[in-house]
Subunit: 346 residues, 4 copies
């Protein structure tokens, strides 16, 4: 099914794990540890993440994947009379197979601006809800969902994040950040939002592993201890509690040792930058201004077909009968030689 | 938190993975593969499992854990007007934190006989439902849940399984087997039920990985192709679709190569047998007759406290103010020296 | 389908409504009123119920039926990590077609004593939950469900109710009473629990209408204002918000005017007493000691068949191959002549 | 709260019931009938509706209200891997407090054209779903929701309905019609869709009662017998099964006797027409072209405030800082004198 000759830039989850993770899994393999998050490696990983986030009392849980993390945490944060605000292009609005609704919750969509929610739009929506004297007939906006980077690879600036956070806190509406590709945001030169700032301005977020160098796993961070009481039971109910928890714990313990999470992001950004510059030089245009590890390039169908014979890319959408948008993704594992070969083909 | 001196027989998921799994993960680590189950390793694993089960057209999915597998498959098999029959001691009735009900389904409990459902009880229940002219006011029995081995470590005989299957098929009520510890059933000398027979008599079952030598993962097997249409979408909705699916695929590919799954079971059974015989010789009694890898031994509280200082066991239940039942579990990873030390302490 | 000659004692919801209700519906028919509970008749009914319950700040909602009231209120009171404690014979455990589980909640069953929960059993259950150091793996007992009268027609005494209430409040576990047939409890000479005491010791309860003289409708009473925030939205979500709310409001306004609710109960109790005494005199025995409007009489199958030719009764259960339990129910509408005819046939 | 002097045109559910309904309720009040839909009046109503719809084998159920009917039937028709297509302005998308999502289902919104779904849009959406090779990652379009009249008071023509039906049947996607105000569509001169045609082209629909002259109640019609197996149990699970079913049955029995349902519609349409013509003559404009019983008139805020002192209307939306859209609704109960007074005030 896979060809070794054809280049592949279709996604950031095509390889296994960062070698340091495998090394640690082997070293610890025959140790006996406690289960369900009580093992020493999960605790060590939690401590390192708390330090990296400057959030010393954070509750941290390791879940298996992104849809699971989103569905579980949104379900845990909302009551049935509430919905979750998201950009119309947000991952949970467009690409989760109804997993949020399956849990009983409506996604309240607002317009997107470069893939992002605007604080003013959120404020207007919440204000309108409370201003309506019949608002008890409607779902209360119960939380706000964003992702960093967004579905279009764009970034919230620190100003945009703090504006959103201010609106959320004024209205007692928690702010949740999906960080499936967070390493690629943190490493981006355009980014001005640090992990401690995310922990300061978001009420819950997750640090992505699956797309950022682990075999699997996402680290859900709740900066304020016990912000979601009984979250453990709810994680179990969602089938999201890992029995052999140390496997996830070890992976995040490694990611947050010796700056490996930074290194993972850097490689993806540097290789994406080289491809982006080459595309620009050759006159290609982009559907979105994405400074991170995903490029959304507009191609004629002819060019797309020609390229696809030698490079696997992700299909994004049709622009018109003659043109398509294709996604090119880099990752922690992208090799410089492959980037050179790709540039040669453009 | 964990002590290296103290023996641990508390569960079968304390170590990492069978070394052959780690070896293969390393060998394949930098290959690029497709996602969401379309990778070559998942396909290879599926082929090997189909052969081992003599089920050439089986649909097979790799999920992360047992609660997830049970909740997802029960939800996929039932309509809202149906419930799932289980023994009152069945795992889904007693130990899933309401995960089945969270999905909207009632567990219809029947009496247990050595931890098992009796075909006659199931038949009576289904017959009573249909005989009641007001049965549309009640939940229809929509599937039957069993596990092999059971929550008490006991085994369904081939006769018991075929009797259940006959009742189920006569009533068009699918039979589902939870095989979280299936390796330890298959390797047990008392067992007379093979994988192909399970595939013949059950409509859906899963082959446990987490407790049988993998880092994580369970292989859900649906012997009849497309028996559950659109199961893929439902798996995704449950947050149970692994993006980097090859990680689970590789593990099951290894388990079903060179009889490793058999070997894993054998070690657990042999070590459990030695402990069981030692306990019997020393006059201990058991709460349940479990021939598999879990022993449920009745101890005075005094003895339990004394032993616990040197051996970690699982607390099962209080019998009376003076006596408790403790669980001793072996696994693929149990070392003969540890067994010797344990026997010396009894 | 119905015969005019045959007597009918099969249930307490066979007739229309108390004539005073119809009279008021006609008088008010062409008035224009606000909707969704904001009408003057609903407000008047709420005020009268608040007075009758001595609960001046109670929130009160009128829902259409009993299953709806139970499912909606249990869903509103529980979080997903909680279950509802009920007697194994409780209506929600045995007779709701999985409506509680459909809302995502597990019913945690305890043994019944004359159809009732014992405060000591509830206390033990809650204590065991909190004593278990792994309790976060299990559902928290989140509320307690009882009904007055019970499914077997029996009554909680004031002592039993206050004992339950004390256990519940000590553990911050709300107590909910299903009062589908509450009029028949309140009017019973054996009863020593008043409406104000119910409002004092229960956190939520409902005053039954459908079985106590209305066309339809149950009045949910929450004695402490805003005890369940946003309950209005949750009622709407459950499809339980009546647009033309005054129809329910008028009915309860009438029931709580001129002691009609008392009168309704009295007729049912007096007619039931006459039948009970006649049965006793003739040597019949009862399956349960029910002092209210439902009699559960044990009959030989021969006698049951003979009687059924002239009297419609409710089938309750088979005792053995020769005997059955049949239910005889009276109501606000039971006529003395019908009682005489029935007694003549016994 | 209500004033007798102020005119009220705020909605079509402000009065009680058509007098013929109350008359029949009184006549039958002390009869004893079977429950849960098995009574003779429900059966009589079903027979009359089957005849009116020319659907001799239709399954028919009487539910209490519109949100309940929509939530229950959508839940009964969809599997979890499916969503329901609706216009972005459809009632279930905009005005149900998340009741559809609460049942686990996503509303898949498409653009509206005069409040209506276009068959071509539905076809494109379904075709795109099946054309996408990754469609198993997305929700399948599982049914189509429309209402007649729409949320904007507009009507599907017979051509539009048959086009939608053709697309739906070609794709095995059931078509559901919400007929909360169906009487007002059927009586409208612009309407060319009859009840038998609705029964022919829709797979499930409901005939509205609450807004069309009953105390409460909607008649769900499933033209093809057993099209939704076990729907009875699902209705009960939703708390939507009326115990004293004859109350709903009697009301629909009356509505479908002596053309009362037609008469109800006619009065509303005639009075709406007079108001519409008066508004047009005086130069007012309308937000939507609605030929049925709801008028959506654009007013300056000044005029709206002035009018509101004497006439209660429904607020619909703000157009700009100076203008609002107000809803004026007529009904079966609208009096000609009130219409004259209203016209005098315009």
């Amino acid at each position: 099914m896979e060809s070794t000759d054809r280049l592949s830039f279709s996604s950031d989850y095509m390889e296994g794990a960062h070698p340091a993770i495998l090394k640690k899994l082997i070293e610890t393999n025959m140790e006996k540890t406690a289960a369900y998050g009580a093992d020493i490696y999960s605790e060590s990983a939690r401590e390192k993440i708390r330090k990296a986030c400057n959030a010393p009392e954070a509750d941290i849980f390791f879940l298996a994947g992104g849809t699971q993390a989103n569905a579980t945490m949104i379900d845990a944060m909302l009551r049935s009379y509430q919905g979750v605000i998201a950009a119309e292009t947000g991952h949970i609005a467009a690409h989760e197979a109804g997993a949020i609704e399956f849990g009983g919750h409506k996604v309240l969509t607002l317009p997107q601006h470069n893939g992002k929610l605007a604080a003013a739009d959120v404020e207007n929506y919440i204000d309108s809800y409370y201003a309506d004297k019949n608002h008890e007939h409607m779902l209360m906006p119960g939380m706000v969902y964003i992702s960093q980077p967004t579905e279009q690879g764009t970034l919230y600036s620190l100003k945009e994040l703090t504006d959103l956070s201010r609106v959320c806190r004024k209205n007692n509406t928690p702010l949740y950040m999906d960080g499936a590709r967070l390493a690629y945001a943190l490493a981006c030169p355009e980014n001005d939002v640090t992990l401690p700032q995310i922990a300061e301005y978001c009420d819950v977020f997750y640090i992505g592993g699956t797309k950022c160098g682990t075999l699997f796993g996402e680290a859900v961070v709740i900066p304020k201890h016990d912000f979601i009481p009984h979250i453990f039971t709810m994680i179990k109910q969602h089938g999201a509690l890992l029995a052999k928890s140390r496997i996830a714990g070890i992976q995040f313990d490694v990611l947050f040792t010796d700056n490996i999470y930074d290194e993972i992001g850097r490689n993806a950004i540097e290789t994406a930058d080289r491809i982006r510059n080459a595309l620009k030089e050759k006159g290609y245009t982009f559907a979105f201004h994405s400074p991170t590890n995903q490029l959304f390039v507009t191609l004629t169908k002819e060019k797309a077909d020609e390229l696809s014979r030698q490079v696997e890319m992700g299909f994004w959408e049709n622009v018109d009968p003659d043109r398509v948008v294709m996604r090119i993704a880099t990752s922690w594992a992208t090799q410089k030689e492959d980037v050179d070969r790709l540039i040669g083909l453009l």
